[in-house]
Symmetry: D2
Subunit: 345 residues, 4 copies
């Protein structure tokens, strides 16, 4: 039995971890922290988990935390994570960090898009936690940087094409749409029901912090530095990301040829599902699950390919992928706790 | 390994059965029928189940069906069910019927609210499939009439009070609100997104067919014929029913006394969760699960009690309760396949 | 040209006043206050009004306010209103107060449900601003207490029956459902999109502060003190209230008789629309408008009547009714600015 | 007083025309046709218009129609329109056709994307009804082809840049998202609440029939044939389109320079509103109105510009633009009936 802790258990990502861990027979949630709800049962904050999860939120210092579990999920904001993670590692713990603090290999890039980095010495060691690309390294890691939600959908959508050199990387445009849970549970005007419902808009156009993360992984896949266009949008749904990705083909391809490229790349992947030609993914077909559904369309008129990639931002885009990483790091079956069917309708 | 069949697999209830059966290791879905999608994979109709369910829809006559499974879920409209169920029973099969055809013990009452009944000889045998009230009889039954969604929420909300003779039955008013999946997947104007979204209304006021079903069970619980007021409403959500139930108290009671009544009545029930005093249930805290959450409030100013009862209409209100009944009928653990946590947000 | 001011212009009710005043050719919005957005254009806060409203939010003391307009809408929380309204009246201004502070005639009742009242001397003078009941008094008033949203829907639904002595007042139960804009624009966890969307729940069961307001008006209509049951619920929509109201009939009535009672009572009312027998109102049929749609159903089985009453909580339930009151107080056509058709879908 | 008729009054576009015409004092709706609701009052189908619109739906042959009005809106599907419009023109009537049948100047292009054209002789005469580009021609036309909803948002977003030769036309990618009312009121599975709500997906990727319409207008603006990429998506909202448009800049530009281009191009346009630099449009800020809100962002990292363009698909994308065209064709004030403020929240 592996003991795990959630640092930041009362956010949407934290509680989603708690939900998924219910399905992991070999894992025990032994500690959950929340400054705001210190002393309250997690089920008082999230009554949906009543009868499923039995843990009280605590407000602990890192040194008090360390001996309470073997592996920690740090589900806290960037900048907070970098203050906690080093001490957990020093105490001999494994960490899956769900913040952005250890995703970028280059501290300079991090500091350009975020702020000062106080633990850059861990960047070289941290493994980017996308199992479909880095399964082996994750299995041997003590620090895994869990990917951002948007990058997960975009990179999984592009990887087969980049590896096959089928597209021109500098023409990549990722137009992504996310549900409101991506903004977290902090009360702010822009996240109110009346502001989000029955509406749709773009935000942080050409300025979103997930851009360098995508560029890092795309550049690694095509072995040269690449700059892309990325536009995030806010959907009036709670869960789900759909990324619509455009790129110029390096040479003409048929729909069936491109399907082969994807099938071959993802042939051993449980969590990537490929749509039949002519079908496209939908966020409501992956809701609550760790699947990434991908559909593609060759547009011969323009010489472009259009890739559609859908995930549940709280699962494959955060907590589910973190559990997948935990499974790899702890030598558990990779799919443990992650095989419940998407909820539709 | 028990083999089960779903008759009417392509409706929302049918596919929810398929989803839940994925989690039942001792059960195999061996046949699924759908006239409309005959020959198509169920996952072509419901891509959310891709990788989870592997079955092709068939259009079969009852005689062809019977030897394909040991137990059948008939998830077809009323009137269609009564034409199929008798033959399945004659072939020695067990049946959980999700239609209204075998819920009412009195054929006359059925014919008053529905239409002519062509198999009234099975009404005496059919067990009303609410395990919290009829667990033992269900375990021995070959025909279980799965309760309606509204009645499930209302009866579970009222049963402890009726048994304790704490309320005056003739003052019962059930004001219920249901998500749109209750109307099924048949294309009709009133079920279109643009008609339902961002709106709310009552329908079939004082005329809904679930009324006699509630009255039958309430009357049995208080051992005299009772007439109640019932108003269904359409919520702009996919899943969920919340029933707000009013009744006059027979004598003054405190909130804590009434809580004791509920705790005692439901002390052994996994799927009924009682809210702490001052808390009330919400449909989004039971979404995707087989739970019925109940909260109550004594209103001393008026001498009334208000009961709030929430279920997922597709799970505890239909497919989940049907699986619970199947488990009882087949001597499997009652909660098998039904313990995944509600999805929130 | 009448000059009007909005105190508290940046809340949902304040900005809805600004929207409706665009349609009033005889009225000029001359001042708008907002502490939070002091110095910002109202259209920076609400870009929907760009090109329609041209005013800058100010943070003004009451004495600075008074000479800026002839009539003021005070769209601020209760307790704040009672600190502002007396000074505006003393300065010779007319006031439509949208808070609860001057709705209850009895200071004791107010203090029991709210808190200490610091200006009880104005309670006797304040007119309850429901034009369908108090048109003449409103026309002569300098202080109008604009009704609460829930009470507007419930009282308009009940008034004809109470006047006709067709129901037993002590059996009244009002089960009301409101959109999320009723909770205002203050950021709080319970108002977040992810908490409200795709969900439904009751709140403040048997404890909501609109209860005494309804009881006051119902008691006046039936000329004796009445206590009612009232349960508010939160709908996953932005705008709209539907109240489902139950009462015992004093004697048997047909649907057509009861329709006559309503038709006769509301025969001169522009803003009350009666549904045809067998039809019921829906919140999405009044969205954005000042209409109150009412439908009724006699339930002979139980001897009860069910009344359905729908309004847009921000219009007839707040800003629209306030403009209607302003029109009456300023001797303008009562419907000025209020005749745009509801937006559907 | 101008008499107008609506052919196809019971669809979402037809009834939106009826709603907007309520606000036009110089125009009388004299006839409304609907095969499905022949003999029913339009307000029986759309109770939101009760008290606002008083007309009975009729099922009329074109020859019976013609003498009932001076101008007709044909709000019927493509292919149906081409069978009606010629006869109305021959009878001396003006027509605003809301179908696709007369939008494309080239019958061959039409037949490639749609089907056989039976009235190609009217293509040369039909004016593409985008007043911001063709105001003068519309004023003199007897047949105006009202633009598609997607093309309206995309062309208005691109026109200033194309005229200024600031972008490379062959790099244009339009990623558009539409509310569900765009699919009309015909009952079909894909338009059901449970299929659309809480979900998001692309459809007709690289194959949507609005593509040639955009290409026609873009080609005219840059005076050479252009092929673009266009992907439509389905939003879980009723009204609204947001188009996110990408193109390579022909030369470096600052945000303020590009803003000048837009300001200058749209300086006399009431219905185009430009967002402040750093702000972007949202569908819920144009809901119910004829506005097109546009925001732009220069992305210096990639040399691209991103244009965000939002409309209400039923208003500026259909019925509102049709009324604007009617105003021009009938020498009425262009903004008549179209100046009500967007409804938010």
């Amino acid at each position: 039995m592996i003991k795990v802790g959630i640092v930041g258990a009362s956010g949407y990502t934290g509680v989603e971890l708690a939900r998924l861990l219910c399905n992991c027979p070999d894992v025990k949630l032994s500690v959950a922290t929340s400054r705001q709800y210190n002393g309250k049962k997690l089920t008082d904050v999230y009554p949906n988990l009543t009868g499923m999860v039995d843990i009280v939120c605590e407000d602990l210092k890192t040194e008090e935390l360390a001996d309470r579990a073997d592996l920690f999920f740090t589900a806290v904001p960037h900048q907070t994570a970098m203050a906690i993670v080093p001490d957990l590692l020093k105490a001999g713990k494994k960490v899956v960090d769900l913040s952005a603090d250890f995703r970028l290999h280059d501290a300079e890039v991090y500091e350009k898009w975020y702020q000062n980095h106080t633990a850059p010495e861990y960047l070289a060691e941290a493994i980017y936690g996308l199992p479909e690309l880095y399964r082996q390294q994750i299995a041997g890691a003590r620090l895994v940087a869990n990917p951002g939600c948007y990058p997960t959908s975009v990179i999984l959508g592009l990887a087969p094409l980049l590896q096959a050199e089928a597209i021109e990387p500098e023409t990549i445009i990722a137009d992504s749409k996310s549900g409101a849970s991506g903004a977290g549970r902090l009360p702010q005007t822009g996240s109110l029901f009346c502001e989000v419902a029955d509406g749709f808009k773009a935000y942080k156009v050409a300025e979103h912090r997930h851009t360098p993360e995508m560029e890092q992984e795309i550049s690694l896949l095509c072995k040269k530095p690449v700059t892309i266009s990325f536009t995030p949008h806010l959907l009036p749904i709670s869960r789900g990301i759909l990324s619509t990705i455009y790129a110029k083909l390096t040479q003409a391809m048929s729909d069936s040829e491109v399907n082969e490229v994807y099938k071959s790349f993802y042939k051993d992947e449980t969590f990537v599902r490929l749509c039949e030609p002519g079908s496209y993914p939908a966020t409501n077909f992956v809701r609550g699950s760790n699947f990434c559904d991908i559909g593609v369309k060759i547009d011969n008129r323009t010489g472009r390919i259009v890739i559609l990639s859908a995930i549940d931002n709280l699962v494959k885009g955060a907590a589910g992928q973190a559990v997948q990483n935990m499974n790899l790091m702890c030598n558990l079956p990779e799919t443990q706790g992650l095989l419940s069917a998407p909820l539709f309708p």
